[in-house]
């Protein structure tokens, strides 16, 4: 054993062990990543510790900007809204995507490609386009209210985006619409990789469709669910364009979200330090949630 290693050049490296030269290979990418991501992020962290209007000399703020995140209701609310929106941006798309995938993979549907394309379409559209389209659908005389009135539910019609109680769910539904297609396509691809034998065995054991779903499909889709959750959580938390286009955080401040608050404070009210603190907090939140998801759902890789 020892002799063998020695003849291999006297290096104490097991086969497959990464070599130091590997770092050279990732260097170009790392440099780009550092220049355009790590360095700006470092700057953001640094700015979050100052009071700065973007023009005159900044003054040290210590942890003021971060303390405000917890004490200022105007800053706490956006985070609460963002977490609530995750139900619409993440939980619902994953749930609906699972249902659709389970149904579509069981039954052979005619024109499957067509349905898949239609459901996936929102992912292809720029979110600005999505926002403009939904703004007109949700308008007081928009498509949604027209349909409600046509079927005799006129009493439910309301100015969705201008309603204090309904604006946030209304914006959330747009997120559900965008995210569902992505989840479904991911799950369909995943379901195809579940061995048929498992389904056959389940059926032999007398499992119905529901039992089959929970015992075979759901566990088999674990990695895809982790990916879908991660993608939708990130998309939901950094959601800016939809809010900017549809409500600008209104009515009142009922739909303000952290990403919008970053823009608003940095560019509109000259509170660069506070904006940076919100941005850093948002980054941390996204990081924590995605790590939690991959640990919980995907399971720790050995």
């Amino acid at each position: 054993m020892k002799r063998l290693l020695n003849t291999a050049g006297g290096r104490r490296r097991a086969p497959g062990e990464p070599r130091a030269i590997g770092y050279l290979y990732i260097l170009p990418a790392l440099l780009l990543y550092a220049a355009f991501l790590l360095y700006p992020f470092g700057q953001a962290v640094w700015l979050s510790f100052v009071h700065w209007d973007g023009l005159t000399v900044a003054t040290s703020a210590g942890f003021d900007n971060y303390r405000d995140l917890f004490t200022d209701p105007a800053l706490r609310a956006p985070f609460a809204h963002a977490l609530l929106l995750l139900v619409f941006y993440s939980a619902l798309p994953v749930a609906i995507g699972l249902l659709l995938a389970a149904a579509l993979s069981r039954a052979r549907v005619r024109g499957m490609t067509f349905f898949r394309t239609v459901l996936f379409l929102p992912q292809v559209l720029a979110l600005v386009v999505v926002g403009v389209a939904w703004r007109s659908i949700l308008a007081p005389d928009g498509l949604l209210n027209d349909v409600l009135r046509a079927v005799g539910l006129g009493s439910l019609a309301r100015p969705w985006l201008g309603d204090y109680d309904w604006a946030l769910p209304a914006v959330g539904v747009v997120g559900t619409w965008v995210g569902t297609g992505l989840c479904m396509v991911l799950f369909l691809a995943g379901a195809q990789r579940i061995p048929r034998e498992l389904y056959e065995a389940a059926r032999m054991d007398g499992a119905g469709p529901v039992r089959e779903f929970f015992s075979v499909t759901l566990p088999g889709l674990r990695p895809q669910i982790a990916v879908a959750l991660t993608l939708t959580i990130v998309a939901g938390l950094r959601n800016f364009d939809l809010i900017y286009i549809t409500t600008s955080g209104g009515p009142g401040n009922t739909t303000s979200v952290p990403a919008y608050e970053v823009y608003h404070r940095a560019f509109e009210t000259n509170q660069v330090g506070s904006a940076a603190a919100v941005g850093v907090a948002l980054t941390v939140l996204i990081f924590v949630l995605t790590v939690t998801v991959s640990r919980l759902v995907e399971g720790r890789r050995s």
């Binding site: 973007g54 005159t56 007081p140 309603d163 401040n253």
Partner: protein, 477 residues
């Protein structure tokens, strides 16, 4: 054998955060961002004394950043730029035109950068113009105002809105940091057909106006078209209501010397706004309707009135033709002096580090003088100081009505600045508050209290700044 390896990897792993921390520490010790305002006078040198002659300035490229991208103003500015170049062939104008929002988000970086534009359009108020002045990024124009007689060209009300105190604290007083090309005010547009069908004459007094609202409602028409999804339109509607009750008071408050917002006028105006919504004078669900959508509805015949700015005139006229009428919000008694929210277009300013401040000043004069006013009128734009061409516009056309209204407002000193100038955060405060009032969530009293809280806090901060700027003699140093 395996041990040392894991050990070394362990060290390397710990080294990464350490390196990151070291990098951050390096960043933190680097210089603090921002400028200290010490460059108020640029390389252009000291104060000007004689009328500058751009022809003698040699080969000059003047970089101009503006937001005049809409039809009329874009056309008028392009024509004026061309004429300026023809007059002074040695001066090339490099124009960078962006939408208002795009300009607002990029201007700060451009002006504070190493190679700022020579001429910029700065938005009046604390967040933009006052901030720029405090950072020493804009050149004071008082000398040029004397040389070019801008002081007499413009009414004081308008000039004051482009003034900032020398220490960069107060808005509406002090040195002149810009001049504006265009005028604008919130007017009452009306659809002649809709009014006639309901048997309503264009109102001459505020009383006639409010009576006609009830009548239009009875006849099944939408009295006032209004959309507030974009948040800011309600500032204009509320402003007009408040101006009817206490215009001068509101103007003083915006400029930091009035009674504030916890006043009867504020509460009554908010109560009227809520009342109009409840009665259906304003459309139900206005908070969910976009500003442009409301204008579109009005121009397609849905709505008797529309309360909005003169900037909408060109688009409305295109869609409605002769059906469109326009006036200042009617005064309390027929023929009395009108009062409304309004002001002027964004200020044209010279950056303090411009290499050619004299050429820039000549350019500013050129795009705002009497000839420029006529070019603006030809393009359907309301000049801040109407010229000869404005006289020739037929008074019974909607353009003629707009110009006549502007002249009466200027003569009567009837312009009240936009309320969101009041404090750096007032736009957020008042727009959120007004959406609450319109939805019935916020009572007029609570609304007034919210405004006053923001205003009072800012006034206290201003007083502290003043106190810090002029140390009392008793203090050491």
């Amino acid at each position: 054998m395996g041990r040392p390896r894991t050990g070394s990897r362990g060290i390397r792993r710990r080294a990464v955060p350490a390196l990151l921390a070291a990098g951050l520490a390096l960043l933190a010790t680097a210089c603090v961002p921002g400028t200290d305002g010490s460059m108020a006078y640029g390389p252009g040198g000291g104060p000007a004394t004689a009328v500058p002659d751009p022809a003698k300035a040699g080969k000059v490229t003047l970089t101009v950043w503006d937001q005049e991208i809409r039809g009329g103003t874009n056309g008028e500015l392009e024509q004026l730029n061309k004429e300026f170049h023809r007059k002074y062939p040695n001066v090339t104008i490099k124009r960078v035109a962006r939408s208002f929002n795009d300009l607002k988000t990029t201007l700060k970086l451009a002006v504070s950068g190493n190679n700022p534009p020579d001429v910029i359009q700065a938005n009046q108020g604390y967040p933009d113009m006052v901030s720029f002045v405090r950072a020493g990024l804009l050149a004071p124009l008082d000398d040029y105002a004397g040389i070019y007689a801008w002081n007499t060209r413009y009414p004081n009300t308008l000039l004051n809105l482009n003034r900032v105190s020398a220490d960069g604290t107060d808005f509406g007083t002090g040195r002149l940091y810009g001049i504006s090309q265009t005028g604008e005010y919130i007017g009452l547009y009306y659809n002649k057909d809709v009014l006639a069908k309901a048997g309503v004459q264009p109102p001459r007094t505020w009383g006639e106006f409010t009576e006609s609202l009830a009548r239009l409602k009875d006849r099944g028409q939408q009295p006032i078209q209004f959309g507030n999804l974009d948040k800011y339109p309600a500032i204009h509607t509320f402003g007009v209501l408040q101006d009817q009750l206490a215009g001068a008071e509101a103007r003083d408050t915006v400029l930091g010397r009035g009674p504030g917002f916890d006043t009867a006028a504020t509460k009554d105006a908010a109560a009227t706004l809520a009342d109009w919504t409840k009665r259906g004078y304003l459309p139900k669900g206005a908070n969910g309707l976009g500003y442009d959508d409301a204008a579109k509805k009005f121009s397609s015949g849905d709505g008797g009135y529309l309360l909005t700015g003169t900037w909408q005139l060109a688009d409305l006229k295109k869609a409605m033709g002769d059906k469109l009428g326009m006036m200042t919000p009617p005064p309390a008694s027929a023929g009395a002096a009108p009062v409304t929210t309004g002001g002027q277009g964004l200020a044209w300013s010279i950056t303090s580090r411009s290499k050619h401040p004299e050429v820039a000043a000549a350019y500013l004069d050129f795009i705002t003088d009497e000839h420029a006013a006529d070019v603006m009128t030809a393009h359907g734009v309301l000049p801040a100081v109407p010229g000869a061409a404005a006289e020739r516009v037929k008074p019974d056309t909607v353009d003629g009505q707009m110009i006549a209204g502007w002249k009466r407002l200027s003569a009567a000193d009837g312009l009240v600045p936009y309320l969101d100038y009041s404090t750096p955060t007032f736009f957020d405060t008042i727009t959120a508050g007004l959406q609450g009032v319109i939805s019935g969530k916020t009572s007029p009293e609570a609304f007034a209290a919210t405004l006053q809280k923001d205003y009072g806090a800012f006034m206290r901060k201003q007083r502290e700044r003043h106190a810090a700027a002029t140390p009392s003699p008793a203090e050491p140093r």
